[in-house]
Symmetry: C2
């Protein structure tokens, strides 16, 4: 870990003391979101120090240019980037004419940030002595409403500590914002109207090229000592910004408050010409309630979320804080309400990865949403890919495949590929397998087979076609090989026979063949429709089967392990233990070629396969592969420690499992990879959830039933979680004394397995084991 | 071949008939240059059709941004691009107020372009009927002076064919030019002054970032029926351009001529503050002579060049035209006068490859310049790399090497790496070997050992250090392996144990060790100095030797050939013959991943090694490897056919050698690779020269003596070339009857080998064999 300034607390993320060096890091950690929008914890008032400004709207992106150097055929037209959206949180604060700026204050004391996860709000408070020696106490509370998801609210309180002062609040909107990752000074927003009306203001702007039309809005209200003051604000309108000035003399000990409501309405949810009306409408709803009442609703909404998705841990505050932070962020990022949205790897906390959809969704996030939300949420996520099937087929065609073969994009906003590094875009094709696996996993968990005849089978056919065409026959090996790929371990590029990819390819084909038969037998009408559309013939499926049956898997007799790829043993096999700390993280210290020829593994690769297909291998095989690969693994992908934690738990290596748990769960809180400034690792947070539920809890679905092998790290007294399984909610509590299972609601019994033994649960009864 | 509109002619490149589709292609083919500057054959008058404007100044480049997508450690700061420089050739022509524009003329007849290579000028003539039905005859002659290499001259002649017309010539300068490859609308030039003085005009502009200051200048003079007319021009000055208007009534059959002189002076050759004075000075020299006299000098200068470097071919006009085109372009691109310059792969004919230096210089160009120029030219090219040694060491340090290991850049303008694709920049490391080989080759050919103790040995040490550090020991193979490289065949990336690279690495180390000993024995002072600087120890050289002695070379017992890289035989080995024509060139038709996993070879790779180290292998081995690899070779690199032509000739496959010869020599004239619009392939033109001299002529240097094994394609009656060998000039003529050798000048005899037999030549006597 690289930082430890976050205070341990069961329900809150807390920072104490002002340190300019930590501002960007905290801006990430204290981010707030409500599924529809989100923002970094930037200060409302002016700050002249180092900061990374970010406010993001779900689904609003920009197709940036991808060309540089030499074009390669098949490259996407653009690289989707998440856009920093117009700023609505800004409040310029002046005290006796002096702008409040923490960077220039003579002293800042009692500085505290709190992200209250239980209730869903963020607060910052401090005492400051300004450059002109004015002593102030400040407290700012902010949240993005879950109920009115186009609106956020800020309460900015100032109390003079010595003399009476004149305070000027200038809440503003600003569309003259930039992206951190913009290198070409491109403008991304086109502002078309800046307007005010009383204490409301509106900026209409649309994104360049994609033409997402938005109205950013605000409305403010002054309060003195808790009582509203009516004051006509002074407007200052510029080309790209607008502000309202409210000034007031405030005596020592009195508190002046500004309540500011703001946010975005977007033409994806409203008619373009109605945006201002929509903004007024949502402002009306918010201001009718007022700050406090809206905050009460926020607390209730979060209470409902926690009711189902909380994981409690006793006896280890840091672990408790961490898992709640992970669950909190996942819920801030994706609510499951809007099937056009998905889960960007950085959520609403930064620009990297462009806010787009990766294979993370299928491989890591679906299990979490499946078990903590109504199953429609997971089905929506599957449908998202079904809706993109045609584009996946087009994408495969661009790369030379034919006949309906589908290659899902590595990165996408709307189904089109929008990543532009050939070794990823063209070669990291295992992503296709994750999409098929998610279909299998969804059915395994929910028992809802209907998705497969309705939609899933077509996806499976496209994917099987891709794998059959992508494999080639090696005369030398007399096997099918898959050449030139990048596996989950992106520290290898353009390798041959990545074991994980080959294994997944074989599995995808076999699974598609099985489902074809199952749909033929059980859903003949769907089958006929699908055969009609896909023009699938027996001779084609024979070709598939031939590839699957004769797939090559690199294996070392000497080491008795599958090899991550051809030639892996030619590397200088120096373990991570012997790698000087000064060289790490290697992705910041080493050139790319050096990384590539090293044995170091960014994230689970062979072990990712052992995770997905656990039941295909014995525990002894798992152990052998874990012992071979983990020592070379640098875990520089956020998606790595969780898988290792689950596997270490399975191998009964609880100390190691616990270490990996801390690393995955506190990855951002403790900034293990020295990059938290850029934003949080949202998708891997679902992996943290898995490392408790699947790792320590040992939860699996076996033959349509939940199964558990509960273990507990020695650092903990107890932990508990709930699982929404096929419309029944099961609460599991594990302690040193044993485990308890409680079936909530319903009328029927439910049988599960615990440590391999059948256990029958009755509703509302606690069974201890 | 993809076009055949160029008329066959022994000394000229000729196009007849106006075809808008061919304009960009002809703009490349009719390019002119004088080593210091060059330009595409853009029309002087306005042309509203498709065109690719380009005028380039040697050594003037721009460091373009390289960032896009995700940064990788070790990437260069910039990608050097050659810049389209301010236009000085432009002459707006109006006839009775109507702008002459070939794109809008009612008819264009007798259109002809001629690039007279013997005399070094370019001419375009046509008859046109304008949109307003005016009939005109036009002839434009242009050249870039070899004598005054900052100046070019244009004679623009118009003759009205029916009625008297008012002709307005507006010669202009324009710095508002753009680059074709600019995607971000960046400005590359900053114009600081636009001025005129009488019939002269000047634009001062400097490149952004690199701050190359230039003055683009012009001076014009009107002539009627061959007689000068004094006329005060009308100036039109704009922000980025300036023009002079000269108008004159011209009767039917009379000819109005504009003589325009123009060009660039640059602060690399003059003081920045003296640029206008320098421009005036060179204009004075040019106008004192006048167009015709300057053209006479041009003819003499080219005559001198041809005297030494011509290759004549009898009985095959197309082959003759082609080799002269190649020799002509090489001489247009690099004169050897300025050791700061080098040979860009597109010379002055396009933007691609950024006008920078590649390994092409060492591997392809040095032999040509060595044998057709004074040996100082080749030594200058070697010194260019010696001067960059420190930067090569820095470059290697960036990639994690240490202790003075040197990695020369893949692409450079000033010694810094400026290419930004990791698979090339970081991995195409065989370039380092070409630089060592050139040192060996220079000494082998010239016998001038002095370069090695003076400069070369330090380069060799840096390169040997790199190879030793870059190789790793594979326990599995018990050999040193070189992982993660790109060989000369760029259709493979990040492969292990590219045979060519491994072979070259071993050779480089051994050669460095040998030269160390030789310098120690023969040049002890130099040796001490070098050991002092490099801090080389015996224990380090032992490490080198261990790597060289235990280098791994992939080999197939079954095929009895060295494998291009590990795993080559796993590919679907379908030969090019079975690849449908519609799929070619694969670099335009296929996605990158598909190319990478195919067996197709862009250019000689294993065979490149057999070419450089011919004497290490038997003819039978060459034949086996040629027969194995050539069928998979698509020759989509311009550097490929020449090597194959040389090897086919050696294998006595003269028909195949001839086919490859045509492909290399007429690559651009016949547009084999469908890309001549982008510019010409200059560096491969030296390969064409090699395919005659080394291929058909069988010239080698063996034990300090020239050796020949003359062959002649059946399509030819005879061919002859001259070789400047160790300050003696030898003329070789090969015909169906045998070969003749004539030693020019000198007093001493010279012994050579012909077909393995010793032959003693006496000065000025022709020996027939």
């Amino acid at each position: 870990m690289n930082q430890d300034y976050i205070k341990a607390d069961n329900w809150s993320i807390i920072e104490e003391g002002f340190d300019k060096e930590r501002v960007k890091s905290s801006e990430s950690l204290f981010s707030i979101g409500n599924g529809a929008m989100g923002q970094r914890a930037n200060f409302e008032e002016h700050y002249s120090g180092e900061t990374f400004q970010g406010s993001y709207i779900g689904g609003v992106y920009y197709p940036d240019k991808t060309r540089v150097g030499w074009w390669k055929n098949g490259y996407p037209e653009y690289f989707a980037k998440v856009l920093n959206a117009p700023n609505w949180i800004g409040i310029k604060v002046s005290v006796n004419g002096e702008a409040l700026d923490l960077n220039t204050c003579k002293s800042v004391s009692n500085f505290k940030r709190e992200l209250n996860m239980k209730e869903g709000w963020y607060q910052r408070s401090f005492q400051a002595e300004t450059y002109n020696n004015i002593q102030l106490e400040v407290k700012v509370t902010r949240f993005l409403s879950l109920d009115l998801d186009e609106v956020g609210a800020i309460k900015y309180e100032i109390t003079p500590l010595e003399d009476a002062v004149e305070i000027l609040f200038e809440p503003y909107l600003d569309s003259g914002i930039t992206n951190e990752d913009s290198n070409w000074d491109d403008k991304f927003w086109n502002t078309t109207d800046v307007a005010y009306e009383g204490n409301q203001a509106f900026i209409q702007a649309h994104t360049m090229k994609t033409n997402f039309a938005t109205c950013t809005f605000m409305q403010s209200q002054l309060h003195l000592n808790g009582k509203p003051i009516e004051q006509k604000p002074i407007e200052t309108k510029k080309e790209l910004s607008i502000s309202h000035g409210y000034s007031q003399e405030v005596k020592k000990g009195e508190t002046l408050e500004l309540h500011k409501f703001g946010g975005y309405v977007v033409d994806t949810n409203h008619k373009k010409e109605d945006l201002v009306a929509a903004a007024k409408n949502v402002l009306q709803k918010a201001t009718d309630l007022g700050f406090e009442a809206l905050l009460e609703k926020q607390k209730e909404a979060w209470n409902d979320i926690w009711e189902m998705s909380d994981i409690s841990i006793e006896g280890d505050v840091k672990a408790q804080q961490a898992i709640r932070f992970n669950i909190f962020q996942l819920n801030q990022t994706y609510s499951g309400k809007d099937s056009r949205l998905n889960i960007g790897p950085k959520g609403f906390t930064g620009e990297k990865y462009g806010g787009s959809t990766y294979w993370d969704t299928e491989a890591y996030c679906i299990p979490f949403y499946m078990a903590t939300k109504d199953q429609i949420v997971a089905r929506n996520l599957l449908e998202y890919r079904y809706n993109h099937l045609e584009k996946a087929i087009e994408n495969a065609e661009k790369l030379g495949f034919s006949n309906g073969a589908a290659l899902y994009p590595m990165v996408t906003m709307n189904g089109e590929e929008c990543h532009n590094e050939w070794e990823i875009t063209f070669e990291e094709i295992h992503r296709n397998g994750a999409i098929a696996f998610a279909i299998y996993n969804y059915y395994r968990f929910t028992g809802d087979y209907s998705y497969i005849p309705e939609m899933g089978l077509e996806v499976l056919i496209g994917i099987a076609r891709f794998w059959q065409q992508r494999a080639t026959f090696s005369k030398q090996k007399e096997k099918y090989v898959i050449l030139g790929v990048t596996g989950p371990n992106e520290y290898e590029n353009n390798v041959n026979n990545n074991w994980y990819t080959n294994y997944l390819a074989k599995w995808c084909i076999n699974y598609a063949v099985e489902q074809l038969q199952k749909v033929k037998d059980g859903y003949p009408e769907d089958y006929d429709r699908i055969i009609g559309v896909s023009k699938l013939t027996d001779s084609e499926t024979s070709k598939w089967k031939k590839v699957a049956a004769n797939m090559y898997f690199p294996f070392s007799e000497e080491e008795d392990v599958f090899l991550q790829q051809d030639g892996f043993l030619d590397k200088e096999l120096i373990t991570v233990e012997d790698l000087p700390n000064s060289q790490r993280p290697i992705n910041q210290k080493w050139s790319w070629d050096r990384i590539l020829r090293s044995p170091y593994i960014k994230q689970a690769d062979v072990l990712q396969g052992f995770y997905l297909f656990e039941d295909h291998f014995t525990t002894e095989e798992l152990q052998k592969h874990f012992d071979f690969y983990e020592p070379f693994t640098v875990h520089e992908s956020s998606l790595s420690p969780c898988v290792h934690s689950i596997q270490a738990a399975k191998l009964d290596r609880m100390q190691q499992a616990y270490t990996f748990y801390l690393r995955t769960s506190r990855l951002d809180l403790d900034d293990y990879n020295k990059e938290v400034e850029e934003g949080l690792h949202i998708t891997s947070m679902a992996g943290t959830w898995m490392s408790i539920v699947e790792g320590f809890g040992g939860m699996r679905v076996l033959d349509d039933k939940l199964s558990f092998t509960p273990r507990i790290p020695k650092q903990w007294k107890a932990y508990s979680f709930k699982i929404n399984f096929r419309k029944r909610v099961l609460k599991v509590t594990v302690s040193n004394e044993g485990s308890k299972f409680e079936l909530e609601g319903g009328k029927e019994d439910m049988s599960i397995r615990v440590n391999g033994e059948r256990v029958v649960l009755e509703p509302a009864k606690v069974i201890s084991i």
